[in-house]
């Protein structure tokens, strides 16, 4: 427990009202963290049930309709309730103002509002599970989604509302980064985490409204039959796919850019070395954010779109791959002649580099038109986006969570169990999902309740992997919660890192810093400065 003599943001002020009405970005970050970790656990359990059903080709653990609802909910929860808000709204909220030397974000009330909007939207999404679930897949493709008798309206309304919380957070970060940097901190003095969140925020603000409009059109189509996606009334179901991916492809970068942003911090902190190619990493984030708006058609190479459109989208898709590759090279180059320590956050970083490289390289298969035709809508896609989203973003998120955990709660978790869990997660992940590359290339379509016998061994292997993965996460949840009560007291700067949030105490005071911090060195000045650990 906290020593009662030291006031920090966790213990002052006290009382439940001080949390529910708090304007402190750190508390809001913690509230987001609690919510998204809950949904991560729920989505994970759904995934385990899905893998259990797929253990045998004619499995009947759940019914076909239930299975269809399970993979829809798994996708919708993981994407909209977990990954999209995960890094920006929890870790970003907590860390970003501290990194800039600010007392809070630019609009604290908007920040709190975004949390309430998030909770409200989540309740809508949860209501749709109770009220008959949704069986459309997380993409809600028309005309299936306009004709199925499940509660598509409440689910899409939930996602529509969640969009606002995402926009609020993005807007808040953009203004905060522009206006609240410590005097003397130029754009190139900012940690790369901030650059990554800036690029993310731009996409959040510009792309999310399109999803909102699309979902409103879908709701109007279902409730009033306006016919925009209905061929019988002159509408076009493929138009829905264009609208949907116009948001949802940039959304992929809403998910991965913050992950990359964390990795830049972790690589520098745990190699104790100045980041290689600071500007290349910063600008590649912006390049990715920009090009990400122009590649949506690569989700639709088999939809009958024109060959010319397919060619353009394929070309632009390969362009967007380059900045991601450059980042990976920069991170690896940073490790050269560093002093590399392998605590849990670094193990997650190495996992990220390994898994995200596979995720990125398998994207090349899918960007190549002639090959994508074969791989589209198979398990190859499923494996690819899990390598990017889970192998990429989730590994980075967990790395960041372990990195900033001592700062957030003033407690150290068990390093031993932290490493064990990371290794289990890494092994389990590869067993589960690498298998699915082979399954997909062999022709196994996704979203199948039952499948042909020839795919059974690979499916079973993938399911075994999910158990290892599940065990890793279970251990992680246990030691993290345990550390809150029994963890050793964390020093202000356990990793010897150089960004500003490590100059205050752990947990930080309510105002972030006792005195206004002074910028004496850059975020990665490991060539000149050695910070005290502790």
């Amino acid at each position: 427990m906290q020593s009662p003599t030291v006031a920090n943001y966790l213990n002052s002020p006290t009382g439940w009202k001080s949390w529910l009405f708090t304007l402190d970005h750190k508390r809001i970050g913690i509230m987001y963290l609690a919510a998204i970790m809950t949904f991560f656990a729920v989505g994970g359990v759904l995934a385990l049930i899905i893998r259990l059903q797929l253990l045998s080709p004619h499995g009947t653990l759940v019914s076909a309709n239930t299975y269809n609802q399970l993979f829809t909910l798994h996708g919708a929860i993981m994407i909209f309730l977990f990954i999209i808000p995960s890094i920006p709204a929890s870790l970003g909220n907590f860390v970003l103002p501290q990194m800039l030397g600010a007392k809070d974000v630019a609009f604290p009330r908007l920040n709190l509002a975004s949390w309430y909007v998030y909770v409200f939207g989540s309740l809508f999404a949860l209501y749709s599970i109770v009220a008959g679930a949704v069986d459309t897949g997380w993409t809600f493709y028309t005309p299936y989604s306009t004709t199925t008798n499940t509660s598509v309206v409440s689910m899409t309304l939930g996602v529509f509302i969640l969009g606002f919380s995402s926009i609020f957070t993005g807007l808040n970060f953009i203004v905060t980064i522009h206006k609240l940097r410590l005097p003397g901190m130029t754009w190139f003095d900012m940690p790369l985490f901030v650059w990554g969140l800036y690029a993310t925020a731009i996409i959040q603000v510009l792309a999310t409204p399109v999803l909102g409009i699309t979902l409103v059109l879908l709701i109007l189509e279902r409730t009033m039959g306006i016919g925009i996606f209905d061929p019988a009334m002159g509408g076009d179901p493929v138009l829905y796919q264009h609208f949907f991916w116009f948001y949802s492809h940039p959304a992929v970068y809403i998910m991965i850019l913050p992950g990359m942003a964390i990795i830049s911090e972790l690589v520098a902190a745990f190699t104790h070395k100045k980041i290689f190619g600071y500007k290349a990493i910063a600008f590649s984030s912006l390049a990715i954010a920009f090009i990400s708006f122009l590649v949506w058609g690569h989700h639709m190479f088999t939809s009958g779109q024109s060959e010319l459109a397919a060619m353009m989208f394929s070309f632009l898709t390969f362009l967007v791959a380059i900045p991601s590759g450059i980042k990976v090279f920069n991170w690896v180059a940073t490790m050269y002649k560093g002093r590399i320590s392998l605590e849990t956050p670094m193990l997650y970083t190495l996992s990220f580099l390994f898994l995200f490289s596979i995720g990125g390289l398998t994207g090349i298969f899918l960007g190549a038109l002639g090959v994508d035709v074969h791989l589209h809508s198979t398990y190859f896609i499923v494996a690819h986006f899990h390598y990017v989203m889970m192998g990429g973003t989730v590994m980075a998120f967990l790395g960041g969570l372990h990195y900033w955990w001592p700062k957030m709660f003033g407690k150290m978790y068990s390093e031993f169990w932290g490493r064990i869990a990371t290794i289990l997660v890494f092994i389990g992940f590869n067993v589960t999902f690498f298998t699915q590359f082979i399954l997909g290339a062999k022709g196994m379509p996704r979203r199948y309740y039952n499948y042909l016998d020839q795919y059974q061994p690979l499916h079973a292997f993938s399911s075994y992997g999910s158990w290892i993965l599940g065990l890793g996460f279970l251990i992680m949840f246990i030691y993290l919660i345990h550390s809150l009560f029994k963890g050793k007291k964390a020093p202000g700067n356990p990793w010897g890192a150089l960004t500003l949030e490590w100059t205050n105490s752990s947990p930080p005071p309510t105002e972030n810093f006792e005195t206004t911090p002074v910028l004496t060195h850059g975020p990665y000045a490991y060539d000149t400065v050695v910070a005290d650990r502790g």
Partner: protein
């Protein structure tokens, strides 16, 4: 040479386009593996070599290397441009059917495929085509979006309700190949599986002959039993008394059933005929109104055979 055994990743290639797709797939696989080995190899090497031993010290300032950065930008860019052009080249071939192709109209609906042949014949869930001849498919859907996917041919094309899409293949080797629906379409999406039967010249001619007088020489019951699977009734109706997407056929003939609106009807010839042609007219209580009409897919002789088959299921 055509690879008919498959590799660790790929299934056997059984169309003329398959070897081209596989060449590009393998090129990306090998080039990607080399890149991966270099990146991860260096990462592991650095972790071992530069492992932190002892207290923190300052580390060298190595933040730029223009030559290196140009190399790792330009080389991957050139490589992906090669992949881009190669992939587009294959894609165009997939999208331009030869002029003399054998043309089949393909209809997707929940949850089966039906095929209309040039001579006027039709079939369900089994596409029969001649070997070594280009086959052009004109695809459309009666309800939601489906996708026509034959892994061994490396072709896939979405099947839309409001327009025709086109794909084609040329399968040189006689055989039976799996056909999947690869766009999620609801409850029995994973049962929307058919086959493509590629026949040699003589066998194909014989098949065309026999398909025009199908059912000849069979009792109505046997013909009905054959249609039960051939026309995909089996996807949703079982004949052993167990429930599926639709009610089981076992022992229903001559017995009353309760309908969704609370009324009751006796299962007789007319009820069966109506349920085949206008499935939504009288839906059995406890089931959803999801069956598509078989108008135009089954002729009256075939409906008679199905009635006879249902009668025989006591």
């Amino acid at each position: 040479m055509m690879d008919t055994t498959g590799t660790l990743f790929l299934p056997p290639g059984q169309s003329t386009i398959a070897p081209e797709v596989d060449s590009l797939f393998n090129f990306i696989l090998y080039a990607g593996t080399i890149f991966f080995m270099v990146v991860v190899g260096l990462m592991i090497y650095f972790v071992i070599k530069y492992r932190r031993r002892g207290a923190d010290e300052v580390t060298p300032d190595i933040a730029h290397n223009t030559k290196l950065e140009i190399i790792w930008t330009v080389v991957p860019t050139l490589l992906v441009m090669v992949v881009f052009y190669w992939g587009f080249h294959i894609y165009l071939k997939m999208h331009v059917p030869p002029k003399d192709a054998f043309e089949v109209k393909v209809t997707g609906q929940k949850w089966f495929w039906s095929f209309d042949y040039p001579g006027g014949g039709n079939g369900v869930n089994e596409l029969v085509v001649p070997a070594g001849k280009p086959v052009k498919l004109l695809l459309s859907s009666k309800d939601v979006i489906h996708s026509f996917y034959v892994p061994d041919f490396r072709i896939k094309m979405d099947v839309l309700p409001n327009r025709y899409t086109v794909t084609w293949f040329d399968a040189p080797n006689p055989g039976v190949y799996n056909l999947f629906c690869s766009e999620y379409c609801g409850t029995s999406h994973s049962k929307m599986i058919g086959t493509v039967k590629v026949l040699g010249e003589r066998e194909f001619a014989a098949w065309q002959e026999s398909s025009s007088n199908a059912g000849a020489g069979m009792t109505p019951e046997t013909y009905g039993e054959q249609l039960y699977t051939a026309r995909a009734c089996a996807t949703c109706h079982k004949v052993d008394g167990s429930q599926s997407t639709g009610p089981s056929w076992k022992g229903i003939y001559g017995h009353p059933v309760k309908l969704a609106d609370g009324s009751q009807v006796t299962v007789d010839e007319n009820y069966i005929r109506e349920s085949v042609l206008v499935p939504g007219a009288k839906v059995v209580a406890g089931y959803q109104n999801v069956m598509p009409t078989y108008q135009g897919i089954l002729n009256s002789k075939q409906i008679d055979a199905l009635v006879a088959y249902i009668k025989s299921l006591k």
